[in-house]
């Protein structure tokens, strides 16, 4: 089903949306302070803090902490701050969204946007540490998939197979060779792969050990009738399996 949406339709929908939002906003009720979290107290409970306020606060400004303020988060709360979290401003977590404990329960996505759109699950620490958020260990993670990175694939930039990698999108990705190598398939004219019907199952002849050569599997079957043509003779060198 494909629709062509005209500009008047878009403008009408936009206007309707505006009306709906305006109506909803018009009903805005007074939200009592902390009404959302009434049972849980403040963003940062002070009930177990030392009696001396000046330990943390300036005497004339409760919103500003003393210079050189230090707080042993693990000793006082049981939650260790590691990596960049130990350097972060308190208000990055303890702010007026609500008690940090609720967001901490959610894990990383409690505070950080999930740029992977939930597709990679809740265990961010599988790829990220807490210092720079630079991903690491992706090579090892491929051993926990059906597609371990070997040969030339181990020297290939992530984006070559995951075109959305730079914005955090790794899925979906198909592991069929032609998903990435379709241009190579079209350029393979010695012999002419497409003319012979060799349009899939590249792994019957090619191994991921080289950009240039073909390793022939002389024992391989030609494949389903009508889908595959005869295979090249043993020893033949084929066209490149190379992604552009």
């Amino acid at each position: 089903m494909r629709f062509h949406i005209s500009k008047p339709t878009i403008l009408t929908l936009a206007a309707l949306s505006y009306v709906v939002v305006a109506c909803v906003t018009q009903e805005r009720r007074a939200v009592p302070r902390n009404g959302w979290w009434a049972g849980q107290g403040p963003v940062l409970p002070h009930d177990s803090f030392p009696a001396e306020c000046k330990l943390c606060h300036l005497g004339d400004d409760w919103q500003t902490l003393v210079e050189g303020f230090e707080f042993d988060h693990e000793a006082e709360t049981g939650v260790a701050l590691e990596g960049s979290h130990a350097q972060a401003q308190c208000l990055r977590c303890h702010n007026d969204r609500g008690p940090a404990s609720v967001f901490e329960t959610l894990g990383c996505v409690g505070c950080h946007e999930d740029v992977h759109l939930s597709q990679l699950g809740p265990r961010c620490d599988s790829c990220h540490d807490q210092w720079t958020w630079m991903p690491r260990g992706q090579f090892e993670l491929h051993f926990a998939s059906r597609f371990p990175l070997i040969g030339v694939h181990a020297a290939t930039a992530c984006r070559r197979c995951h075109p959305g990698a730079e914005i955090g999108r790794f899925l979906p990705t198909d592991t069929e060779c032609v998903s990435c190598h379709v241009s190579d398939l079209k350029n393979a004219d010695n012999p002419n792969h497409i003319g012979l019907g060799w349009v899939d199952r590249c792994d019957r002849c090619h191994q991921p050990t080289t950009w240039n050569a073909v390793e022939l599997d002389t024992s391989a079957s030609p494949g389903p009738p009508g889908r595959q043509g005869p295979l090249p003779p043993p020893g033949a060198r084929g066209s490149l399996l190379r992604r552009r």
Binding site: E52, D96, T132, I150, G151, P172
Partner: protein, 542 residues
């Protein structure tokens, strides 16, 4: 009053000389030049000049000092060991004679005069700390700017045909808190990419891109406001599964904690550097939560995209996150197709799913089970080459995996994983088990030895990996060696084996004047060929 409080807090103790004493707990409130610190207890708490104070830093040890200056609510303590540094916040204690407190309690305490208290306790309830009711509203806060800048670089040389690959990513992210004085926030995020591939016997590749990931302004969604809206380019707030939007999103929190919201605008192309083709997008969602702790929640949403891309997507997700016991996260993506879709049958298709349940024991041991499914949705008639459309849209993989870790001793941990997968072209399994040891060979060193094996789509493999690293004052370094033997599925015995070696080393510098730097080098060696990579990551947060 303070003395009464001190008495209540104080635990009785008996000094070595048999005198009845009271223990006064205290903390270091400031450090002084020289071997002295300021503590948060003074004459009002019963302290006197010459009292001996003991400090207990978190890092261990006990250090002593003597009270040399005294005020009503603070005192200066001179440390016995001039080489010791006691940090602000460190706890301590002082033992004082009980009779000193009792004698002073007898003194009459004057009650200060003050005008009647006028503020009501309208929002206060028993059990709520008194400081709960105050807070500076977002619109009253000063403009604050935060963010980061970063640079990625990587170069790879492959000996086979002399191919060279490289990329450079330079980006920045900036948050502005209350830029317009009404309590909202702005968020700007972008990246410049340069990619180059030199292919000696083929076409070279040379690309540059400037991508804007975010340019938005939002307001609300705080404890002061049950409504939130955002406009511009942003990742959708209520349902990130719907992706990046150029448009407007509205979100409302209901009194019971549930939320609903809707968005309208254009969906940029996620596979083409978020290029904007104006694909009209409209979406709505509802999130149900059990209670204020949000330990149990379910969400459902629908997204419609029309234009060059077209999609009818339903997303459902839920989580159960109790403080102890097994937790659960799950999300499913369901696409709706009609007779107008060329490659997919009419009806609903479970396109993608991921569900994880896990448990973390008090001992530090953990166990996770994960199920995932991936299919490729049909969204754009022109997205894939017609030659491969059948393969793309028929592709499917389901995977069930388990991973866990168990502490054998305080510094030895056994870890492992096992997974099975089933796809449109076959099925297989993989497993890994390893042991890591902390303080291995060197103080703050860490060694890890893992072995792994698997039955992949194109090859079977077995291998081992040895890693050694160490945390140092400026950061971290590590070195890794891995060997794996692969047998290509379907090839004859004399032509199917390949041994691959991988060596990697990295050095990280953490928080050097706010900068983080990571350098790494890596080499892969297989058959008669090899590849060599060098990389850098540099980041400054502000």
């Amino acid at each position: 009053m303070l003395l009464l409080l001190a008495l209540a807090l104080a635990a009785p103790a008996r000094a070595q000389d048999g005198q009845d004493t009271v223990r006064i707990e205290l903390r270091v409130s400031a450090t002084r030049a020289g071997p002295a610190v300021v503590i948060d207890r003074g004459e009002g708490a019963g302290l006197a000049l010459g009292d001996r104070v003991r400090f207990f830093p978190v890092r261990g040890g006990t250090f002593e000092g003597v009270v040399v200056e005294l005020e009503d609510r603070s005192a200066v303590v001179e440390l016995s060991n001039p080489n010791v540094r006691i940090e602000t916040g460190v706890k301590g204690e002082v033992l004082i004679p009980r009779e000193r407190l009792e004698r002073e309690v007898e003194a009459p305490v004057a009650v200060p005069e003050h005008s009647p208290w006028e503020r009501s306790d309208e929002d206060w309830s028993p059990g709520m700390p008194l400081l709960a009711l105050e807070g500076v509203r977002p619109e009253a806060r000063p403009l604050k700017i935060g963010g980061r800048i970063y640079l990625y670089g990587n170069g790879t040389l492959t000996t086979d045909a002399g191919r060279k690959d490289g990329y450079l990513r330079a980006g920045g992210e900036m948050f502005l808190e209350n830029p317009l004085g009404e309590g909202g926030g702005a968020h700007i995020d972008g990246e410049f990419n340069y990619r180059r591939a030199d292919v000696p016997d083929g076409d070279d590749d040379d690309q540059t891109d400037l991508r804007i990931d975010r340019f938005s302004y939002h307001r609300g969604g705080t404890r002061f406001s049950d409504q939130r809206w955002e406009i511009g380019r942003f990742l959708q707030y209520g349902m990130p599964e719907f992706g990046v939007l150029d448009g407007f999103e509205y979100d409302r929190r209901l009194p019971n904690g549930d939320r609903w919201g809707a968005s309208i605008g254009s969906a940029p192309d996620p596979y083409d550097d978020l290029e904007e083709d104006f694909d009209f997008q409209m979406a709505g969602y509802y999130r149900w939560v059990l209670d204020e702790l949000e330990q149990l929640s379910f969400s459902g949403g629908y997204q419609m995209i029309r234009g060059d891309s077209s999609r009818d997507l339903f997303v459902a997700k839920g989580h159960y996150l109790p403080p102890t016991g097994w937790n659960f996260h799950g999300t499913v993506w369901i696409d709706a197709y009609t007779s107008g879709d060329d490659e997919k049958d009419s009806g609903l298709e479970l396109t993608q799913a991921i569900a994880t349940t896990g448990h973390l024991w008090k001992s530090g041991n953990g166990l996770n089970f994960t199920y995932s499914r991936v299919r490729i949705p049909e969204t754009d008639d022109d997205l894939y080459d017609p030659l491969i459309e059948d393969d793309i849209y028929d592709a499917r993989v389901d995977r069930l995996s388990m991973n866990g870790w168990r502490w054998l001793e305080k510094k030895k941990r056994l870890h492992g994983r096992v997974g099975v997968w089933d796809a449109d072209r076959g099925s297989g399994a993989d497993a890994e088990v390893g042991m890591d040891v902390q303080d291995f060979l060197l103080d703050r060193g860490r060694g890890d030895l893992s072995v792994f094996a698997g039955d992949g789509l194109y090859s079977d493999y077995v291998g081992a990996r040895l890693t050694f690293g160490r945390n140092v004052a400026t950061g971290h370094w590590d070195i890794m060696y891995e060997i794996s033997s692969h047998s290509q599925t379907g090839f004859e015995d004399e032509n199917d084996d390949m041994v691959m070696h991988r060596i990697r080393t990295s050095r990280e510098f953490h928080d050097i004047s706010g900068w983080n730097l990571s350098l790494y080098g890596e080499s892969n060696i297989w058959d008669e060929d090899s590849s060599y990579s060098l990389g850098i990551f540099l980041q400054k947060s502000f």
